[in-house]
Symmetry: C3
Subunit: 272 residues, 3 copies
Amino acid sequence: MRPVITLTTDFGLSDEYVGLMKGVIVGLAPEVCLIDITHNIPPQDIAQAARIIQHSYPFFPRRTIHLVVVDPGVGGERDILCLEADGHLFIGPDNGVFTGPLDDGLVSRCFRVINNELFHAPVSPTFHGRDIMAPLAGQLANGLDIGHVGPLRDPAGCRRLQLPRARIEQDQIIGEVVHVDHFGNLQTSITPDDLNAAGVRKALEVIINDRNHTAELASSYCDARTGELVVVINSRDHLEISISSGSAADHFGCSTGSPITVRRPPGSKRHA
Amino acid sequence: MRPVITLTTDFGLSDEYVGLMKGVIVGLAPEVCLIDITHNIPPQDIAQAARIIQHSYPFFPRRTIHLVVVDPGVGGERDILCLEADGHLFIGPDNGVFTGPLDDGLVSRCFRVINNELFHAPVSPTFHGRDIMAPLAGQLANGLDIGHVGPLRDPAGCRRLQLPRARIEQDQIIGEVVHVDHFGNLQTSITPDDLNAAGVRKALEVIINDRNHTAELASSYCDARTGELVVVINSRDHLEISISSGSAADHFGCSTGSPITVRRPPGSKRHA
Amino acid sequence: MRPVITLTTDFGLSDEYVGLMKGVIVGLAPEVCLIDITHNIPPQDIAQAARIIQHSYPFFPRRTIHLVVVDPGVGGERDILCLEADGHLFIGPDNGVFTGPLDDGLVSRCFRVINNELFHAPVSPTFHGRDIMAPLAGQLANGLDIGHVGPLRDPAGCRRLQLPRARIEQDQIIGEVVHVDHFGNLQTSITPDDLNAAGVRKALEVIINDRNHTAELASSYCDARTGELVVVINSRDHLEISISSGSAADHFGCSTGSPITVRRPPGSKRHA
């Protein structure tokens, strides 16, 4: 079976950083298939990295190794983790990037990476992605037993972020924008379960920047005309606010963290 | 033979969208070679996608599968097509992205993709790239017979765009900018055949934004000094207007759609 | 052994240019592993390409083929080179992009690429990357003997750039910014050897834009608090000036070429 390694970083694509990690990996695991998830995580944005990897890994084959290098503490005292969760492997700093699998209780084994025989010497204190994590990924891809990377560690002690979740108050769903995508779509923290719990079905009212908008939950973007509001359940299975053939972020002046409230339209009946 | 799949989208590189398509593909076709053509098609710009794929596919080996996901109608009533043309396979929405092979009469077989046994369930109505087109590409790469994707369809009924072509009026070639590349070069709709038909050979006059410029058709960019106008036949075999070591788009204030007129310089003789 | 080819260009990622080079390569060498170093070299910036490839190639396995297409003289009289250096192969224009291996005296064989039987016909005078260099790389990856590309050439006659090096004047190290990375870190021309030669050890004074800053040479970025100056030896083994969790380029108003002076703090003793 050809090994697969994914890469998720905040390195951007203008420097040699991503290429060097791949060079180190392919020198150790020549048959590897390398797949970029993204290198445009905003610098040091651990929460964004956590969300991206949580939503991405289930679409890769089992035994994929996911390398997540958003690591503002590089060279400091934070640990480097190697997790086995849900049949996948994860390598990255212990700073919250693996909140998803940790919160979901899916971690079967967790190791602290300390076996420096596996590293690329000398280790630069500013680039553990190249000198520690990439060589580790390459060697795991090449068949190294995960037990060699270092001692077991209790996943309960690993760092987790408080990722925003919507809450329900008096039939209102209080959520927020968690990501603005390339198209300007507003991905929110609101789930189909939240809609059910608040008795919202097809018709809904959305409050964005203190302005109320009535809408229907659409089944796809093209249920609306160009420039109109579209509210859908997106491919991450969350509520998303879009403008047909436009940028909702520009239209509403929203960005990550902007509050989004959803409720039944005034006068409508509550659904079961 | 190792299968090759190319990807052309308007997804950008900041979200997980491209990575997820690749994850789905590699789970189905582990040996595949994945090549990005570009993911920076302007959002919903079907014409740009059509031009890019038309100019690109001939440089890939036969049997390459070209996945084109510029799909503003995702989740709506547009079909998804699987075409066999000129020895290549093409998968994408029926919205004009395959105008090139369709116009050239190179389509040997055309199918409507409807066999949902081949899809990634559940299909998100906002991301058919991940849940329909990527799994299809992966399975075709893995040897699935194209006849299983759905019923045959008459290519004559597929959607085509009217891509701009230059026309000749009174020995003037009336064209336009069809693409501004990364260097700011102005790629035009004017072909060497148009130049011949208008009797233009080496010396020419170019009218950009109502201003006339005399130039010689150069054999390469470096026939001019820094900052000078260069007119060449580019690697897409079309007339291109450049500024040596600069951006013609900035210099002339042009963008896609700007009119470009070319003719023999005043007083020059017509060539055969 | 699976062949590896790296690509470094100024093509950006919005056009089909990079994808076409890969298509040509994979048609000739189906098993190849293609790795992008970067395609965001600023247009025509040969010095940046030279630095990137010099710092990158040692992290790839031996026999890797490095394709460097930053080529403002394409179609003109500059040669195309194929170098063997330090166990790697390099293909690119003779314009200084290979200053690193040439300066280091590591070139074992050097060839002028002229054997047009190896090219992709017809050769576009504006895209030798696609029509000359990519086919050459593909065929070398596929086992072609390097001796077939053209006649030997004396590396002493190849074009080199004067890459900035720091100099020491009266115990001051006079350097400059050679690259601003994605995080806004200022990579300088100053090496650990320069620090030793000037007797600078842990404590130092940095002069940026005529303003003096005292600092300690940190072992990593996280030795400082958010917003503070950090001076480290970076992963390229050069002195780098950073702002913890911020952009030093923005903070100091610096860009490539900005002068950077380093010395012992006033009153401190000289170190051996």
